[in-house]
């Protein structure tokens, strides 16, 4: 006797709930958790942004205010007019920061993309070893070697030069790592075809690797920019000449030295430091998300 064909039992599965297209009641509990969290994350930011535009009276008002009632640019004006004790104008610090950041990010991307290409597409004996050394360096903590770095900077004559800002940051393990993971996904056939057409390594990097790893390069640029733009390590440790220090250092110094008297100025200063980060991230947002899905450590 044959058993009747049993209909498959309906499973509990009711369609994926990941990345849904429509609102459903089941989401309410997530909103209840996520909205307060998001508020906790952004309210301090909103607060400082507003304080940057508050008048002096309002800054010290009691009860403390979160939102500015009248926007004024006084804080920014004061910040630009005040020059440090050594008489270095703020524009000089800004100039230094822009030069250092642009140079570092650019070099960082270029050298990483060329190394990523070699590590990903060339076959040679040390390949795996080299990449795993870089992977090990992901966990590198710069503060831990501030001392030896200082010694190296002094002995190589880089003290008080722009290279003291740039070179220690130019090799970023995480950037090479991201770009290499992404380069791995470019089919070898594409490279082979280019070789047959007579393209050299530089041409391959320029015409194939760079265009196809754009999302990774964008993410790397964001990461690298954030690190370089905000860092004070070089200005603190490797530079003694005030006119060679960066904006981040200057604004940091203002905000720690006169925390109370210059509340408005420090808020304005931190806004100036933050805005470029936000802008770059917003511009690159979709590319960043695209990279992250390929960026795991396999």
């Amino acid at each position: 006797m044959r058993r009747p064909v049993r209909k498959p039992r309906r499973s509990a599965y009711s369609g994926s709930r990941i990345n849904p297209k429509h609102f459903s009641a089941g989401q309410i509990k997530f909103y209840l958790l996520l909205l307060p969290l998001a508020a906790f994350m952004v309210i301090p930011v909103i607060m400082i942004v507003n304080r940057a535009f508050m008048s002096l009276g309002e800054l010290h008002a009691f009860p403390p205010r979160i939102l500015a009632s009248r926007f004024t640019l006084d804080n920014f004006r004061a910040l630009f007019q005040m020059s440090s004790t050594t008489g270095v104008p703020m524009s000089r610090y800004l100039f230094n920061s822009v030069v250092v950041t642009a140079l570092t990010v650019l070099m960082n991307l270029l050298i990483s993309v060329s190394s990523a290409y070699v590590l990903s597409k060339k076959r040679f004996r040390l390949r795996e070893k080299l990449f795993s050394i870089n992977q090990l360096a992901l966990m590198f903590v710069p503060t831990a070697v501030a001392v030896p770095r200082y010694i190296i900077i002094v002995n190589s004559g880089m003290l008080n030069t722009i290279w003291a800002h740039v070179l220690p940051l130019v090799a970023m393990p995480v950037v090479l790592f991201l770009i290499k993971q992404f380069t791995d996904q470019i089919p070898d056939a594409l490279i082979e075809a280019a070789v047959i057409d007579g393209a050299g390594d530089l041409a391959i990097i320029r015409r194939i690797i760079i265009p196809l790893t754009r999302p990774a390069l964008a993410t790397a640029a964001v990461l690298s920019f954030q690190q370089v733009w905000g860092t004070v390590e070089a200005s603190n440790n490797f530079i003694t000449d005030d006119s060679l220090r960066t904006l981040a250092f200057y604004l940091n110094a203002i905000s720690t030295n006169n925390a109370v008297s210059a509340a408005g100025m420090t808020a304005a200063a931190s806004l100036i430091l933050f805005l470029p980060n936000l802008l770059i991230f917003i511009i690159m947002q979709s590319k960043v998300m695209n990279t992250m899905s390929h960026s795991g450590i396999k």
Binding site: L35, A39, P44, A137, M139, A144, V145, G230, S295
Partner: protein, 313 residues
């Protein structure tokens, strides 16, 4: 012993030789600064840690003295720095990591538009930088009545005197941890969102047919195993972050050391000895200890999320 794979002795063609030379040249621009500012400093730190070095005179070899001093003489290190570092690193590292995953997972349960907006809100603090973070949180926890928290506490009648949050030890560590978690939802967090979004949907379907019952099981048996690479990346970033955030206490307090060493982490201790007291040999020993601790934490992360050959390495 590593096994050497000697290729059969063909005549290496000029082309192959040129290719190898070119590969070397392309690697060099990265390899040089990497060696100079990451590899060599680590080696130098290891060497200096066995010396007494005050920057002015030549280093004097002292054997294991620095390490012995760290663990037997340095009461600040044993009583404050070490417990602080472990507490801080455990909460901010694994704690922040678990939090990023949970938040990332909840975000993926929403539609695209609200998800993007909320994710941006949550990601924002991680790109603020130290100046901004110091300014914000010093204003919030300011010790007089104009500090936001003190104002709220006074209004609600929970205290009758403003609390010196950042000048005394009572709340210092707690505030440091809150601030660090606040700014820890960075690139690892974004990686997790994309990782969860990319899990193949059929896997869930198949698993439910096989008897998966609820979303908790879904996360444990499907989501996490299929996004191990992103989980590992997030873990590495979280650990590094936890040990790199030492400046936070100094920024909040406005000075190194932090009040009564309440927020003194090993990185601050290194700075203190290296750049304030100029006892570079001792600072180097502390650095070596720090690098070893970070390395151990990372091995643990690889154990959990790495692929097999990685875990064995």
């Amino acid at each position: 012993m590593t096994e050497k794979r000697t290729p059969p002795r063909y005549r290496v063609s000029a082309r192959a030789r040129r290719d190898r030379l070119m590969s070397g040249l392309l690697l060099l621009p990265y390899a040089l600064p990497f060696t100079m500012f990451i590899l060599v400093p680590v080696v130098v730190a290891a060497l200096l840690s066995f010396t007494f070095f005050d920057v002015i005179n030549r280093p004097v070899f002292t054997g294991f003295l620095n390490y012995i001093t760290v663990f037997t003489q340095d009461t600040v290190f044993m009583k404050n720095v070490l417990p602080n570092t472990f507490l801080y690193a455990l909460v901010v590292g694994p704690g922040g990591y678990a939090l990023s995953f949970l938040v990332a997972w909840m975000l993926t349960q929403l539609q695209r538009l609200p998800r993007t907006i909320l994710a941006l809100c949550i990601y924002t603090p991680s790109m603020l930088g130290s100046v901004f973070i110091g300014v914000v949180w010093r204003a919030i926890f300011s010790g007089d009545q104009s500090g936001f928290v003190n104002y709220l506490l006074l209004e609600l009648g929970l205290t009758d005197q403003p609390i010196q949050f950042l000048l005394t030890r009572d709340y210092f560590m707690l505030i440091m941890i809150i601030v660090s978690l606040w700014s820890a939802m960075g690139i690892g967090f974004l990686a997790m969102i994309s990782g969860i979004l990319n899990v193949n949907e059929e896997l869930y379907e198949a698993a439910y047919v096989d008897g998966l019952r609820n979303r908790f099981q879904e996360i444990i048996y499907i989501t996490i195993p299929s996004m191990k690479p992103q989980m590992l990346f997030g873990a590495v970033m979280a650990i590094v972050n936890a040990f790199n955030m030492g400046w936070i206490g100094v920024t909040l307090a406005g000075a190194n050391p932090t009040p009564e060493y309440a927020g003194q982490l090993i990185t601050n201790h290194i700075d203190d000895y290296g750049f304030i007291r100029y006892e570079m040999g001792y600072a180097a020993a502390l650095s070596v200890i720090l690098l070893l601790v970070v390395y151990l934490f990372n091995r643990l992360a690889y154990r959990f999320f790495g692929e097999k050959e990685e875990a064995a390495a």
